[in-house]
């Protein structure tokens, strides 16, 4: 079997195993949350009988292992369950499927993440390569200093600074990113400009510095000196001789940062009132809406697994030793 294929299959298999362990951890940590949904909804004054009936309706009276098996079984059929909220004591069931709750939020999150990635990845690659090319120059130092500065501030602080500068002093972009499903693409992009910019500033430093470091690390290789002694120009040495050998570590860092864009942006969502998965999950945790929390956590875990798988594949495809075995 081709090494790329076997590695992909192997990593996919490992991914499934990881996902299984993650589901166990998610489920058991949710058991550790204090209080329960019944009490949270019905209030402390509720009669114990009422709470008991409510718990029974939601299936919370079942033992934990049974609930876990039910959950895993339905997730495998694509059913993430039904949200707990909306089942108010009124007796009318207005609850929604978790999929319906999560899907539009996930779409919003992916939109914002992609927008940030489309700006940040090329930007950090260009900055990293040029910084390596002109290393120890004034340019290199400025880029390093600037990106380090932006990563050193908490993201909400960067967000507020951007709001002050780009939404208040010079009102170029809206300070609220309250997108709706009916919005046109361009309007969405416009609304998302500031959150995307915030995220870009937060992740560029990491990717840029890794690009720079991986390239500089290779510049001491004998084959780089050989390329110089063959009369290759500085940019050709970097782009043709160093960069192709530097992709594996760069891809890993990019994957890590892209995963962060999906799972770690709740603070930025809150600042810009952006309806993403992060906020949904935080709300669900505070209202003990267990099915939603579990679904979000699973999606986050899946995102990490898939992005790291892609980084591994890039690592293999760009390594001729693995791509073309002897």
């Amino acid at each position: 079997m081709h090494p790329v294929l076997s590695t992909v299959l192997q990593r996919l298999g490992l991914g499934v195993v990881t996902l299984f362990f993650v589901s166990l951890i998610i489920f058991s940590s949710i058991q550790l949350l204090p209080g329960d949904f019944g009490e949270a909804v019905l209030g402390q004054a509720a009669l114990p009988e009422t709470i008991e009936a409510f718990r029974k309706e939601l299936g919370l009276d079942q033992p934990a292992w049974k609930r876990y098996i039910n959950w895993v079984a339905s997730v495998m059929t694509g059913d993430l369950g039904t949200s707990f909220s909306g089942r108010a004591s009124s007796g009318i069931d207005r609850s929604r499927a978790v999929v319906d709750l999560v899907a539009p939020r996930l779409w919003n999150t992916l939109f914002l993440a992609s927008m940030a990635a489309v700006i940040a990845v090329p930007l950090s690659l260009i900055l990293g390569v040029t910084a390596a090319l002109y290393r120890n120059s004034f340019y290199d130092r400025s880029v390093n200093a600037a990106t380090l500065t932006t990563i050193s501030f908490p993201e909400f602080f960067v967000a507020y600074i951007l709001i002050v500068v780009l939404a208040s002093l010079w009102p170029l972009f809206p300070s609220l990113a309250n997108v709706t499903e009916t919005m046109s693409f361009t309007e969405r992009v416009y609304k998302c400009a500031l959150p995307a910019l915030t995220l870009t500033l937060v992740i560029v430093a990491h990717m840029m510095r890794m690009t720079r470091a991986s390239i500089i690390n290779l510049l001491a290789s004998p084959y780089i000196e050989m390329a110089q002694l063959k009369g290759a120009s500085r940019s050709k040495v970097i782009l043709k001789h160093a960069l192709p050998n530097a992709w594996a570590p760069i891809a890993t860092v990019i994957a890590f940062n892209l995963a962060y864009l999906v799972v770690g942006v709740v603070v930025v969502e809150v600042v810009f009132v952006y309806p993403g998965v992060g906020q949904l999950m935080v709300d669900a945790v505070s209202s003990r809406d267990i099915p939603v929390v579990q679904a979000c956590a699973l999606i986050f875990a899946g995102t990490y697994i898939i992005l790291n798988l892609i980084a591994d594949v890039i690592g293999i495809v760009t390594n001729p030793r693995l791509l073309h075995p002897r």
Binding site: P222, Y223, M226, Q228, A232, H241, P244, R321, R326
Partner: protein, 544 residues
């Protein structure tokens, strides 16, 4: 482009002239002299040999001939005139125009000097195409012809492979093709065969010499091996500490070197120990098979007997199973079949099943003394560890013993507090020897212990090992690919090839004919200090 030798001037015109070159290198926070005022004149079609120990500045001077200063070096003074172009005044882009078109470079380690990410032929023609000397199609067709004339297998397709897919000797020849592709006026060969086995070295030397002859290219051939340079060069310049020792025409230099230093360069070949037969077998390897993981076997039914107090040299090219044999003996690689019998008892296969006394009695010294020592431990800690571990020595008793051991290896107690980074290559290897001695072993396995050292330092280490053997009746299993070293130190020789023992016997038996085929090939491939050796060898092999 000028493929016609006539168009590039006749042999005899001065091509490269370097005057009073001074080069500085930056280390330990300050600038040091590396080259101190060396002159160099090279005419068209001439091959100059540049020899000296490591640190003599050979490579630095070779690269300076291209107007190139390595990172951390600067050309401080002197003039470099290449065919009318002042390389010191030339701009970077002017020099880039020359590099890879009129001046080419062949590096020591072809394996490290080819970019792993690109196919070989792309790299072969890169400079030629990049300098618009030929179109890509022309250059590739020419490269395939060069591959063929360098006797590479499958010359039409070998270029489509990646560097890791061909052997070291092939890579070195492809690198020669790469240098030759733009038909340069000058090639700098920087230790091009040092990393190769002797058997492979012969092929590469022949290939390089023929192609340099054919295109009447001038070359600077840098090496520390006088016998190799004798085959390649018209004249030889000897460098030491960045200064010229002497320069002479090759035959004259070999026949009557003027300077003591030059004479001492091949002194190791003068070191020879009379062989002594031994009958008391201390360790015997009996029908051992071994493999790494589940892959193919690397040792096939290996049997070796090692007499007490003697030196058994194991020779063979890389991949012959020499080091694997050492790993089996030490228990690092448990054998699949067969036994290791040590002092009359069968040793447990696995390292962790052996007791402390068995561990103590078998010690190892490695090729790279650098990586065999913890860089953060002082010499006293390094030598003191086995004293504490095997003999339970502590405090003043231990310190006294460390001083004794340092004296045995001809160092003194001032070394106790030094770190490995503060020692020279030879001193590091001596510390490794002291560490092995500290255990008071019966047998020391020496794995290429002198390969990374210069000849003069080598000789010192070999003399030390011989003296220690005499004093303490230590047995050595000496793994090496260097026949000169074997001659100097061994009583018995084991020849290995592809994981099998070809023959074992007393030095005098193995080194004198008749030989099995492989031993013959190995012995005849060892370069001799005779400028006609390569020609003779090629002629002999053509007849056979």
């Amino acid at each position: 482009m000028s493929t016609d030798p006539e168009s590039r001037g006749t042999k005899g015109d001065i091509l490269l002239e370097m005057r009073d070159i001074e080069i500085d290198g930056f280390s330990d926070e300050r600038w040091h002299d590396i080259i101190k005022g060396v002159d160099l004149t090279l005419r068209r079609g001439e091959v100059m040999g540049l020899i000296g120990e490591s640190g003599a500045g050979k490579s630095t001077l070779g690269k300076a001939a291209m107007g190139f200063a390595q990172p951390g070096c600067r050309i401080k003074g002197g003039t470099i005139n290449f065919d009318g172009i002042d390389l010191r005044a030339a701009s970077e882009s002017q020099k880039r125009g020359l590099w890879g078109s009129r001046i080419a470079y062949v590096a020591q380690s072809a394996a490290a000097s080819f970019n792993p990410a690109h196919r070989l032929i792309e790299q072969t023609v890169e400079a030629t195409v990049g300098h618009d000397i030929q179109t890509e199609a022309e250059a590739k067709a020419d490269a395939r012809e060069l591959y063929a004339s360098l006797q590479l297998p499958d010359p039409d397709t070998i270029g489509d492979r990646y560097p890791h897919q061909v052997s070291g000797g092939q890579l070195q020849r492809i690198m020669t093709a790469m240098a030759m592709s733009p038909r340069p006026d000058l090639i700098i060969f920087d230790e091009p065969t040092t990393a190769l086995d002797v058997t492979t070295q012969v092929e590469v030397l022949v290939a390089m010499r023929d192609i340099v002859d054919r295109f009447n290219t001038a070359a600077i051939y840098i090496t520390h091996d006088l016998a190799v340079v004798a085959q390649m060069a018209d004249f030889i310049k000897v460098l030491r500490y960045g200064e010229e020792v002497e320069q002479a025409e090759t035959r004259k230099m070999l026949a009557e070197p003027e300077q003591d230093y030059t004479k001492s360069l091949w002194s190791v070949r003068a070191l020879e120990k009379p062989e002594v037969k031994g009958n008391d077998i201390v360790l015997s390897i009996d029908g051992v098979d071994a493999a790494y993981g589940n892959s193919v076997k690397v040792l096939h039914d290996v049997s070796i007997n090692i007499p007490r107090g003697r030196t058994v040299a194991v020779v063979g090219e890389s991949g012959s199973g020499k080091s694997t044999t050492a790993r089996v003996i030490t228990g690092l690689l448990p054998q699949l079949k067969g036994d290791i019998v040590f002092n009359g008892e069968v040793l447990p296969k696995v390292l962790k099943d052996r007791n402390k006394d068995q561990l103590r009695r078998i010690q190892m010294i490695y090729q790279m003394a650098d990586t065999a020592m913890n860089p953060r431990q002082t010499v006293a800690e390094i030598i003191g560890r086995p004293l504490d571990f095997y003999h339970g020595m502590t405090g003043a008793k231990r310190d006294n013993r460390i001083v004794e051991l340092l004296e045995m290896i001809e160092l003194d107690e001032s070394f106790m507090d030094r770190l490995p980074s503060e020692l020279s290559g030879g001193q590091k290897q001596r510390i490794c020897i002291a560490r092995a001695l500290a255990a008071e072993p019966d047998i020391i396995i020496c794995d290429e212990v002198t390969s990374a050292l210069d000849q003069i330092v080598q000789e010192g280490i070999l003399r030390l090992l011989l003296r220690l053997q005499k004093e303490f009746n230590i047995t050595y299993l000496f793994i090496t690919h260097d026949i000169a070293v074997v001659q100097a130190i061994s009583d018995e020789i084991v020849v290995m090839f592809q994981g099998e023992v070809v023959e074992q016997g007393l030095k005098s038996e193995i080194l004198s004919p008749p030989h099995p085929d492989y031993t013959q090939l190995l012995l005849s491939s060892v370069p001799e200090m005779d400028p006609d050796w390569l020609d003779r060898l090629v002629a002999e092999r053509a007849e056979a």
